[in-house]
């Protein structure tokens, strides 16, 4: 019994300690995002990495999601003759939820892992220490550019994903289900509100921040050789993915209640 209580106490303490460490890390990283000097070359390189090179993955995810949404909602809605709602279902699901969440998860796997592996390797090979000895703050040089790039590029990526996803739905509806093209497009616009898109983009910015934060946090704090870097990479992807799902729920609650 004592052992059990001890265990709970220890776990709670460890959790609080980890939370505190992460909070300090986040605060420090944010303060470096806002204060000059800014490493524009690095921000640019990260932006290209996150935004441009994620396009194929995110685009593919989006187009198939849009296609499957159209197919599924058709087979469901046909039962009570509500096929005309398909366009609306596709566009709302994509812009509000699936666009940001799926793009977030895909980018977490791609970018979060890469960041953790890169920073982790730099940590265990003392490259991070070497930065300090060359009068360069690792937070400013390594972490701030990634956070800035993640936060700004994910909304753009999601905007593209929205368009591609809706287009996927259009393709299936028009070429497979035999809808009239202009009617489908009209239906798409009819019930779409500005807020639907904006809420998705705000979510995307939050997810982008979380992905970069988790990648940097776990990479920066990794220890021990190759094994430590491996663990950091796994932790970065898992924690970013879970945080994306939790945040998504919380943000949806804030936007639409």
């Amino acid at each position: 019994m004592i052992g059990f209580v001890n265990g709970i106490g220890r776990t709670t303490l460890a959790f609080m300690e980890a939370t505190g460490k992460l909070a300090m890390f986040t605060a420090l990283a944010l303060s470096h995002c806002l204060r000059p000097p800014f490493y524009l070359r690095h921000i640019g390189r990260q932006m290209v990495d996150i935004g441009y090179y994620s396009l194929p993955v995110v685009g593919l995810t989006a187009v198939f999601t849009g296609m499957v949404l159209a197919l599924q909602s058709y087979s469901g809605f046909a039962r009570f003759n509500a096929e005309s709602a398909i366009a609306t279902v596709v566009v709302l699901s994509i812009t509000r939820e699936l666009g940001p969440v799926l793009a977030g998860l895909m980018v977490a796997g791609r970018i979060g892992a890469a960041m953790a592996a890169e920073l982790g390797t730099m940590r265990v090979t003392e490259q991070v220490d070497a930065l300090t000895t060359l009068s360069t703050n690792p937070f400013k040089y390594l972490i701030a550019p990634r956070l800035i790039a993640g936060t700004t590029m994910l909304p753009l990526l999601v905007l593209v994903a929205d368009i591609i996803g809706v287009f996927g739905g259009y393709l299936v509806s028009v070429y497979r289900l035999g809808f009239n093209a202009s009617t489908y497009i009209n239906n798409t616009w009819q019930y779409l509100e500005f807020m639907d898109v904006v809420s998705g983009l705000v979510k995307a910015a939050c997810f982008g921040f979380v992905i970069a934060l988790m990648g940097c946090y776990h990479g920066y704090n990794s220890k021990g050789g190759a094994q430590g870097v491996g663990a950091a990479t796994t932790n970065a992807v898992v924690s970013a993915s879970i945080l994306i799902l939790v945040l998504n729920y919380l943000l949806t609650g804030i936007f639409f209640s």
Binding site: A130, T132, T133, S135
Partner: protein, 270 residues
């Protein structure tokens, strides 16, 4: 110059030492690595720290550089207490330092010349073109061709990486240079080449140097003074000329490389 077996030994008396350590302690969890280090290093002096693997030599350098924060004690650079310096104060202090890391620690995402020019571009805000010229010149000073400048660190051999690391450490013409095991893992000839380069660079810059090594040939070549670290303390500090007459059984065992003696390696018999 005074000398005793068990404690602080000051360099040239009078003037403020370049680096002064008093009672520096560092532990990782229950494991005490540094247990009260006292050492003064004079301007322009070259001190070599010897000691077995895992005795905390690298940790000592990292404490001076502020990469690790000591648990107790004070570290003064040019008389200024920098033990807990942070932010801009720390960055300003770092401009006086250059360091050659144990594993070279080159930035593998940057070509060789950008590694060497890093401190010039980031620390001294030099333009990239001018920085590249300085980097190529510095590479020449450590015996590397200009062609190497555009390669990436992964394309270099161990000895070349050490040389690039050396070039990076000296490119900003620092006042203090640290060398962490500069010759470990190199063949004897390359090791001697590196030793000569270190001696030459330190002399040309008039820098203060602190080096770590297990290699006694290297220590004899580089050092003005030798300090031996054992169980978290400096058990012997003295001029390199006196190392063979130290009358310290630990030092004797170490410099002669004998398995038998007061230093017991933690090896359990099967």
């Amino acid at each position: 110059m005074s000398m005793n077996g068990n404690g602080a030994v000051n360099g040239q008396g009078g003037a403020t030492p370049k680096i002064s350590l008093q009672g520096v302690k560092k532990a990782f969890g229950p494991k005490v690595v540094l247990d009260g280090i006292d050492l003064d290093i004079a301007r322009g002096e070259s001190v070599v720290i010897i000691g077995g693997s895992g005795t905390g030599k690298s940790v000592l350098l990292k404490c001076i550089l502020g990469i690790l924060e000591p648990d107790a004690g004070t570290i003064r650079i040019d008389g200024e207490d920098t033990t807990h310096a942070r932010g801009r104060e720390r960055e300003a202090m770092m401009r006086k330092f250059g360091m050659l890391f144990q594993g070279a620690a080159l930035f593998d995402s940057l070509p060789v010349w950008e590694n060497v020019a890093f401190g010039l571009i980031q620390g001294q805000q030099l333009g990239r073109r001018e920085a590249k010229e300085r980097a190529v010149a510095t590479l020449g000073a450590v015996g590397l061709n200009p062609e190497v400048a555009d390669l990436f660190p992964a394309e270099l051999s161990g000895g070349m990486q050490k040389r690039v690391g050396l070039a990076r450490a000296i490119a900003t013409r620092p006042e203090v240079i640290f060398f962490d095991e500069p010759t470990t893992g190199l063949d004897p000839i390359m090791a001697d080449v590196i030793n000569d380069l270190i001696v030459k660079c330190v002399r040309d810059l008039g820098a203060t140097a602190v080096s770590i090594t297990h290699d006694m040939a290297s220590a004899r070549k580089i050092a003005d003074r030798v300090a031996m670290l054992y169980k978290g303390r400096l058990i012997w500090v003295g001029p390199v000329s006196e190392i063979d007459r130290s009358d310290n059984p630990y030092v004797e065992q170490f410099i002669n490389g004998r398995a038998e003696g007061p230093i017991q390696m933690q090896i359990r018999a099967f």
